[in-house]
């Protein structure tokens, strides 16, 4: 993508990382991920990694012949409302907006976060101060220059509680809680931006001041609510479908929510160079996945937003279609409410764990498109992942443990899961069938999201899907720390919490991995969750679509996509 010169003032941890990489103490992938997060440019990281390991580092977006100009890329996707990217809750909204306005950073198809509207970022040693060096020469479509003022304006909006942006919690370190009295005199708490949290250093440099250490700032800047709008966005109505000023290569020309969105390439050269497509047409084919297949079959679409794993076999049967995939740290876990009987019985949970064959579930429910899980919610895709001895299914052990737990005749309980996407109930059904042999008689209760989500952290035993996060500690912090905001299992273990704190403060990857190994082992041994697999995501295209690769968050990076007609 962008060719960023080597930034001299890298994070102090980088040389150390490089050393570890060279010594083979960390994997190349881990190095890349951590290094880029700390401010090393991707190219630099790749170059460095290549130099250090002797491998040739080539990004996944490989050349596929010589690009042709022109053409209309027809994309099947839910056409969600495009109003204010900052408050959007849907990746689909982000994908529409992304063609018009652009982020400061972008997570590439290889999981690596790169500067986008920035030339580079630099974090302080304590990870509390982040300096963003903005790209120069980028123009807004109305002719204005893109600069620090725009970025500051966006941060201001994100952190303003009135905006209601999810970015406020992503950059929680830049805010503090205030208490106000409402009309009835009751105390109302809300978060507001810290004084001086965003500092405009010069026209193309912005510095962020955080109250606490935060490693994931670049990834947050690459998330879909962090698309940068023009500084006059609010004055022009705060609605992207009306005020269509952007830095992106396309402009929104026709749009009907729920039906279609048409993007036409803007006049002039985009700052990333040639953009091949003349037009992108987003077509909403509705919630029925078979409609999309029919649309592919009759040549009505060229690419879809995402391909459900259940669609793949059908897609593969249609000539001229290619199913692209990429592994992710997205997963789903079946978790016990460990504070509730009978799940407070550790033996019982371990018996359950012993009855699971993770690879088999992956095969049945996800057609083997992923990596088997290890019941500790840290992904091999994470830089700080520590490899543990693989889990093995052992029905006899399971039976024995179950008997020891006080259920020699087996046990029956409810298992709640949401009805869509379909891989979730499928996974649950595979689990139910699998553990039956060990004496677990599970009553699967498949409920609609409307029933499931209001009580999602309340069910005694249920299945929840989790999206991927940059670092191995992030999900455990949310989900398994005592009193964690999303601690659905109510797991509480001071030792685990302490290790989490320790890992959070450890930048040295090897050190961190050592801590992570303990952390992972604790959760695995406590058998709080069954995590069947880490799943891949898929996108289907026709053969005509070139220059495409799946981005793990399913972002649509179409600048270099072209149609081979």
């Amino acid at each position: 993508m962008s060719d960023t010169p080597w930034w001299k003032h890298t994070h102090p941890a980088v040389p150390e990382l490089a050393e570890q990489l060279r010594d083979g103490k960390i994997k190349r992938r881990d190095f890349l991920r951590t290094a880029t997060l700390l401010g090393v440019s991707a190219t630099a990281a790749y170059t460095l990694a290549g130099r250090l390991t002797g491998e040739t580092a080539i990004p996944r977006a490989v050349a596929q012949g010589s690009p042709k100009k022109g053409g209309n890329l027809r994309v099947s996707m839910f056409v969600k409302p495009v109003d204010d990217p900052a408050i959007s809750e849907w990746s689909e909204t982000g994908n529409l907006a992304r063609q018009v306005v652009e982020p400061l950073a972008q997570v590439g198809t290889d999981f690596v976060t790169r500067p986008y509207l920035m030339e580079s970022w630099q974090a302080s040693e304590d990870l509390k101060t982040w300096t963003l060096k903005l790209r120069q020469g980028v123009k807004w479509s109305n002719g204005d220059d893109f600069g620090a003022e725009d970025v500051a304006f966006n941060f201001e909006r994100w952190l303003d509680p009135a905006t209601g942006s999810s970015n406020q919690s992503r950059f929680a370190g830049m805010t503090h809680v205030v208490t106000k009295k409402d009309a009835e005199g009751k105390d109302v708490e809300s978060r507001v931006a810290n004084e001086g949290a965003v500092e405009i250093v010069d026209a193309h440099t912005v510095r962020l001041h955080l109250a606490n250490a935060e490693l994931a700032v670049p990834e947050s800047l690459g998330d879909y609510p962090a698309l940068i709008v023009h500084r006059h966005f609010s004055d022009e109505g705060g609605d992207l479908s009306k005020s269509r000023v952007g830095t992106g290569p396309f402009e929104l020309t026709d749009y009907a929510v729920g039906e279609r969105a048409v993007m036409r390439r803007r006049e002039g050269q985009h700052w990333t160079g040639d953009v091949y497509l003349d037009q992108i047409t987003y077509i909403d084919t509705g919630g029925d996945k078979s409609a999309e297949i029919a649309a592919f079959a009759s040549g009505q679409i060229d690419i879809n937003d995402r391909t459900g794993v259940e669609q793949i076999p059908a897609m593969q049967q249609i000539p001229g279609l290619i199913v692209h995939d990429t592994p992710t740290a997205q997963t789903g876990v079946a978790r016990f409410k460990v504070t509730e009987a009978p799940f407070d019985n550790k033996k019982l949970r371990q018996a359950f764990q012993a009855a699971i064959d993770h690879a088999r579930i992956l095969d049945l429910a996800y057609q083997n498109n992923g990596i088997p899980g290890e019941d500790h919610h840290v992904s091999p895709a994470h830089p700080d992942y520590a490899e543990l001895p693989p889990l093995k299914q052992d029905i006899e052990l399971s039976k024995k443990l179950l008997a020891e737990a006080g259920y020699p005749d087996g046990i029956e309980f409810d298992f709640v899961c949401v009805n869509s996407p379909q891989w979730e109930p499928n996974t649950c059904q595979a689990i139910v069938e699998m553990v039956r042999a060990a004496g677990f008689r599970l009553n699967l209760k498949v409920t609609p999201g409307e029933t499931y989500w209001p009580r999602w952290d309340d069910w005694p035993y249920s299945f929840t899907s989790w999206t991927h996060r940059a670092l191995g500690t992030q999900v455990p912090n949310l989900a398994y720390r005592s009193g964690g905001v999303w601690n659905e299992s109510s797991y509480s273990n001071p030792e685990y919490d302490a290790l989490l704190d320790q890992a959070g403060g450890t930048i040295d990857v090897n050190e961190r991995i050592k801590i992570m190994a303990k952390l992972e082992k604790i959760l695995q041994d406590d058998a709080v969750i069954t995590q069947p697999f880490w799943r891949s995501v898929f996108v289907t295209t026709t053969e005509k679509v070139k220059g495409f690769a799946v981005q793990p968050s399913l972002e649509h990076h179409y600048n270099k996509v072209w149609l081979d007609t």
Binding site: R74, K80, P81, D83, E89, V188, E189, A256, V257, G258, E259, R260, T281, I283, D284, T285, G286, G287, D288, S290, A291, E292, I293, A294, A295, F296, A297, S298, Q300, I318, P448, E450, W453, P454, W456
Partner: protein, 310 residues
């Protein structure tokens, strides 16, 4: 007649009022759930309370109902929580799309089923009667989702003859409506055909047809002049009721073919808890149903001199 029309319209208004009350109570009596639906599951109680306060949800229920109703009557249908636009902005175009689909389906369905029905009922028990009856009973037994899947498998995936979805992105395209209309007609024509057949057969048994035959009229004249008019009174009502049914039938078809109509709007709204869209869609659907029922009643009166002249 004018009185009758006024009376029917009065009944209709009363009906709509009651329906509106039901819809309102069903969806809005629990204001907490309204807030959850509008603001999302992950909002705090505080946020919901503020929203409820701002939107007047702490008023007494009957006041809420009246202001809601007033909004409805004046065309303020609220805002879609999923689409974040006023409901009327999406509802009317979607309804128009469904109307196109519905009218096309009716244009195929009505002549087809009346023709077959009359043809079968004309000579009850004949070979043509048996054949038509068998076909119509079989097609009626196949659910729309099944015939839809098969038609797609055959005509789209297998033969590449027809477009698989009907999103109408490149503008109106009649070929995209072939399969949706086919699915609707296949499921429904059997019913109307059978009703027409039964009605025709019954008329053919009546003494006045005997009178006409024994008057020495040619068979054609007996059928066209004497039988048809009487035989078509019952199917007329049935056909008008199909409009009500069509509002249901389009849901499956629109979903299957990604047609941007009223049915998918309602279904998606229902699945996403898009409460104001559900309300508006339901009210519109019921209005269409009640209106067609009213028209059916009035038409029945017009068609049937026995009622018209008493």
């Amino acid at each position: 007649m004018a009185i009758l029309i006024l009376k029917r319209i009065g009944t209709m208004a009363l009906m709509m009022l009651v329906v509106s009350l039901i819809v309102f109570l069903l969806l809005e009596i629990d204001k907490e759930s309204v807030a959850v639906k509008v603001l999302g599951v992950f909002t705090t109680e505080e946020q919901r309370r503020l929203w409820l306060e701002a939107n007047g949800y702490f008023e007494p229920l009957y006041l809420r109902y009246f202001s809601w109703l007033a909004g409805f009557v004046t065309g303020d249908l609220g805002e879609s929580t999923v689409f974040r636009v006023p409901v009327s902005e999406i509802l009317w175009p979607r309804l128009a799309n469904t109307a196109i689909l519905g009218v096309l389906a009716m244009l195929v369905l009505i002549p087809l089923s009346l023709l077959l029905g009359v043809f079968a009922g004309m000579r009850e028990g004949s070979l043509q009667d048996r054949a038509i009856s068998v076909v119509s009973i079989i097609t009626t037994s196949v659910p729309e989702f099944a015939s839809g899947i098969f038609l797609v498998a055959v005509f789209v995936v297998g033969l590449h003859l027809l477009p698989g979805t009907s999103t109408m992105i490149e503008g109106f395209d009649l070929t995209q409506l072939v399969l949706p209309v086919a699915v609707l007609v296949i499921y429904d024509f059997g019913y109307v055909t059978r009703m027409t057949r039964a009605s025709m057969a019954e008329v053919m048994m009546t003494p006045y047809i005997r009178t006409a035959v024994l008057k020495g009229l040619p068979f054609r004249r007996v059928i066209v002049r004497h039988a048809l008019r009487n035989a078509l009174i019952a199917p007329f009502t049935v056909i008008m009721l199909q409009i009500n049914w069509l509002l249901s039938g389009v849901i499956v078809v629109e979903l299957l073919f990604a047609y941007k109509g009223f049915g998918t709007l309602l279904l998606e709204a229902a699945l996403n808890g898009d409460i104001f869209v559900i309300e508006a869609c339901t009210m519109v659907a019921v209005f269409v149903a009640v209106a067609t029922q009213t028209i059916a009643d009035l038409g029945y009166t017009l068609l049937n001199p026995r009622i018209r002249f008493t």
